[in-house]
Symmetry: D2
Subunit: 364 residues, 4 copies
């Protein structure tokens, strides 16, 4: 047994390790009880340098000592050795084929890129919402390896808020207006002069992604095939002057007549597979319903559950839909690196990876 | 004849002259071609001091020289002498009865307060939208005086964007999510620690005001009575980290099947009574439809038409409503002091004030 | 032994518990290994309500469960019972006499107010810098009680950076320009409209406080009297658009000719009494010298050592003084509540409080 | 005669017309009484497109109609025809030789790049400070053409504040800490995530530039040679969360014992050559000394004199130097495009350009 309850028996690779999501992976994995960083992979420009030199570290915690001196390697499955898990924050322009090559090499790739999200046989996972979609991987032809996709950061916050309502009452129509944080745009991202004293009412491709991904995640898997959810979704996405934390104003039409207290109860009682399996990154609870009239706010509430929980507030009747409310999720923790970790924990605990066992045993 | 085309033959009073909207009135009136500041009125605490000393001036132009040395007077109609026009930015807690006392003294009060906005016989005016509502004043019983109300800052931006659509196609349902500037909260307003790296998803009373006021403004007047517009409106109001400029994400259901180009044409061809009357504060055009995919943005577009025009962009089909788009208006210019000036210009030009003539003559 | 290593055997009171520093005390004390909140005291307006209702909680962690339901009491020493330690974040306007009345009741008052900071017999403590000043309390006449003062938030960051240089080389002249965070102004503090896209080059009384306090803290105590340090200090204080973290541009003239590496070594080797005594809130190290050319930055480095360490960077020769450098400290952690906790830990460990023993024993 | 008093008889070229300073040139020149944009030059990527399409316009006023449809040309002196004045905001990496080639083609190049600023025979001009340095151009060997350099944006604000003090009392030592706006970094510049809730205590090369340039500008020209000023200057440069406006905390040691009122009088009575010549872009006055205890502030005072004046405040004695004060200047108006315009106006009015006459005549 290691100190701090850290066993870290499972070696992992981080692909795209020098980028902003890659850095989040490194920071989170340093303290992870199961996973241990064995490979840091990046572009040729960074390969061959110690991580400390290759990275422009912009996290608020220092670079973990052990990792700082590790050599960055070129992103190549032949170098990954015995390592069977890779977290990918590769750029969309190269992620597609690279991730496949790792999967074919027997690696479980948990990807933040959009490349494979809508592939028929790739589960798009929010572990509290659709853990059962894992079975889609059976139809993948990567041998021992597999690809699991982490959804877009704003999609994750939305479907977590919708799932308890859909389970209990059925969700028919959803209108969403997002106010998204700057960190969602990666580095260099939005310039300071566009970010201050401003709102940018457009994020390229984001509205389409949210509508498409949400229907897949909320959909049903049967017989190795996924049927998208029939919900109608319309989104408007804005970039606002916030560092971390996507706020969303949501309006919903439900399948039943209920009252506000029913919604609040559904959110508060919600528990997902990660909580039942007691996964290390699972927040308890996943959803905080806040009573204050002016909550949730990104600066005050984005860190709830170590940034893995979401906050919901201001549920009230709507004269056009049935209800409207506000939801907030941390876009680089729950919405990116933290969410991907939870996906990997779920997959490992569920025994997806033959030969790789979760501490305490896998559950098949 | 004065220089700069400034005739300034009509003396006016500013009530609440030391507040943030009061300061905007002072700055705008200094260069006004018709109106001349004759009285600066404020609370007892400020009365008796030169304006320069009474005010904590926070405008980006210096205090006008002539006004700086004027004495601030207590807010009392008996002191207003021959002055027949007053711009009120009095606090809601005292505005109601004080404004009435000025009206009874024969003064035309143009008010930014909410006190009388929903009174049956008080027109709630956005001059491009409902100039004909002026006739409601005939049913007021203030003798030669009258009260005209300027709507809430976010309502103004919304109804200006909706009016051309309503005229051309009929507007049935409207969903709005606002991202409002800090200056809308007056002084001291939102604290710096709440304003930076944050969104506050709540503005007290704002959602109700927008829904209620928009229906009145878009309504029909006949026989001295107003019939509210039947449009269903649902709003969610947020405060964002922007100094000036309210951005609104709007979804609309129309009475006819049309396409996006029809909407754009309706906005671009829109002209209101202020433009036809060539009023000094009337922007030409009132509505700028912007083609850029990421417009409008508060920092870039709030000053269009000297802050009296609005910007609209991103019109596109909506899967739940018919269309969605983004609109932006300057909340302390068009949405407050500038809007009130335009109301006063309209009223004077229309001959509402017996014995007070617009330069160039009144039109009855 | 309690769980989490928390013994919490020493009951404490928080005076001014609902304010912004009071909230920080509550958040920090919740996890403290020695201290347990026994009393929450505030103004009459809050007294008699559960803390949850009395406070407008603005911390980024939720209100601790145990504390949320505690009743707020009126600020009165007669109600404090057996409790012997009080953390005061009382307003400067009332702190003076109130803190004395608690001291006379036998309580060790650790104060964030400025009222007693310059009193001859009140130690103004930065535990790494002048732990020996504790002996001044012998000249206080509060019986078993005592008053210890926590310096101004910007003074603390400055003296921590200067102390190792003064010990090693002697500090003669110091020029400082600060760029201070908004949280230093308390609540409501600087308005959002002044805070965004702006710098305010003035903080009332701050420059004088920094110059005066720094000389006292760096001074020598002998025979129960303090002799201020002879250093000449000139400061210019600015408020910038930062939530937490005071940045200071410092220029120093030293008593010896040394080079930049000597300075860096002095900072890196610096260790104070709190580190030697292994106090619970003592950061290790206190000073992080950062090599990056653009460090320290408030958003990246203010949390070092849980906000109790300071960061120093950019040390380089100066053509007017000997050296210039940049220092950064967290103003509400090290600079306020966290600093006061460290003072209390030092006092208790040093046996200042007869009958109150630190876990593990006191050192006299 | 054109309307609006615009004669615009002198055709000019803008080099680097699509960049952020280039855009400022375009916006300012549109309303200029003497100059008319005849050529917009940029990189090959932009050449051949209408300006509207080539530029990502980020100014707060719309693209001038006449300019929007002009074709962007490649940056080549052979295409400039009869045009004899060029404003260069070329990138430092290419500016040096390109500007020389324009000068050799008979063009007066007013440059914002740093390439030629320290050349012995290139005057580095702040027209109120060193108009007489124009004579350096006699030693240039560009035939009818010439190169004039506009200093670094932060240097300009500093020397304008120092010049009246130097003239009256002699300036010996100067310590400066800057808090510089984001717009000074051009596009894309500082990322939004680095800009919000942060200070960056480093701007590459800026400190050296300020020290070096200030000594040249304040120096004496005689016999076609420049002797740098003997003042000792030490600077620390910071980037803060401000859109426009560089704030500087300055400490000065003077050659005489004077009091604060003497300084204020020197600033207030200051008048430079541009004011005496009544140049179109000359602010009157150049220096506003503000009495408010918390002035100057970028958001409130950067627009004084249409952004061409500077604001000074908080002059007070200093315990290390003689005095300290705060100065503020608009970095993209006075500090870049506006300053360059004033330089060109000075040169034309002074008859530097044979065959190009200022409206109203040149003064030799």
């Amino acid at each position: 047994m290691a100190d701090n309850g850290k066993n870290q028996s499972i070696p992992v690779a981080v692909l795209g390790a020098t980028g902003s999501v890659g850095q989040r992976f490194v920071a989170l994995l340093d303290a992870h009880p199961w996973f241990r960083i064995a490979h840091l992979m990046a572009s040729e420009r960074s390969a061959g340098k110690p991580y400390r030199e290759a990275v422009n570290w912009v996290q608020t915690t220092p670079i973990p000592e052990r990792v700082a001196s590790m050599m960055v390697e070129v992103t190549d499955p032949s170098a990954i050795g015995e390592c069977r898990v890779a977290f990918s924050s590769l750029d969309d322009t190269v992620a597609g084929p690279l991730e496949e090559s790792f999967a074919r090499a027997g690696v479980l790739v948990v990807s933040n890129a959009k490349s494979h999200r809508m592939d028929e046989n790739v589960p798009l996972l929010v572990p509290e919402v659709n853990a059962d979609h894992l079975e889609l991987t059976r139809t993948q032809d990567f041998g021992r390896g597999a690809i699991l996709a982490n959804p877009n950061c704003s999609t994750i916050g939305l479907v977590l808020a919708l799932k308890p309502l859909d389970d209990a009452f059925g969700v028919r129509d959803v209108n969403v207006v997002t106010m998204q944080a700057l960190s969602g745009a990666g580095l260099p991202g939005v310039g300071g002069m566009q970010a201050i004293d401003n709102v940018i009412p457009f994020i390229g491709g984001e509205e389409e992604k949210m509508e498409r991904e949400a229907r897949k995640i909320l959909g049903q898997v049967s017989g190795g095939k996924i049927a998208g959810h029939g919900v109608r979704i319309s989104t408007q996405c804005n970039r606002v002057s916030v560092i971390d934390g996507h706020t969303q104003c949501v309006s919903v039409k439900l399948g039943q007549k209920v009252d506000v207290q029913d919604l609040i109860r559904a959110w508060r009682e919600f528990e997902g597979e990660p909580q039942r399996l007691d996964l290390p990154s699972a927040p308890k609870p996943t959803i905080h319903y806040l009573e204050e009239e002016n909550a949730p706010q990104p600066r005050l509430h984005r860190e709830l559950g170590n940034g893995m929980a979401i906050a919901v507030g201001r549920a009230r009747p709507c004269s056009l839909f049935d209800f409207k409310f506000v939801t907030l999720s941390h876009n680089t923790l729950r919405g990116a690196a933290g969410g991907a970790l939870l996906v990997a924990e779920l997959a490992v605990r569920k025994g997806l990876l033959e030969g790789v066992e979760a501490p305490g045993g896998s559950i098949v």
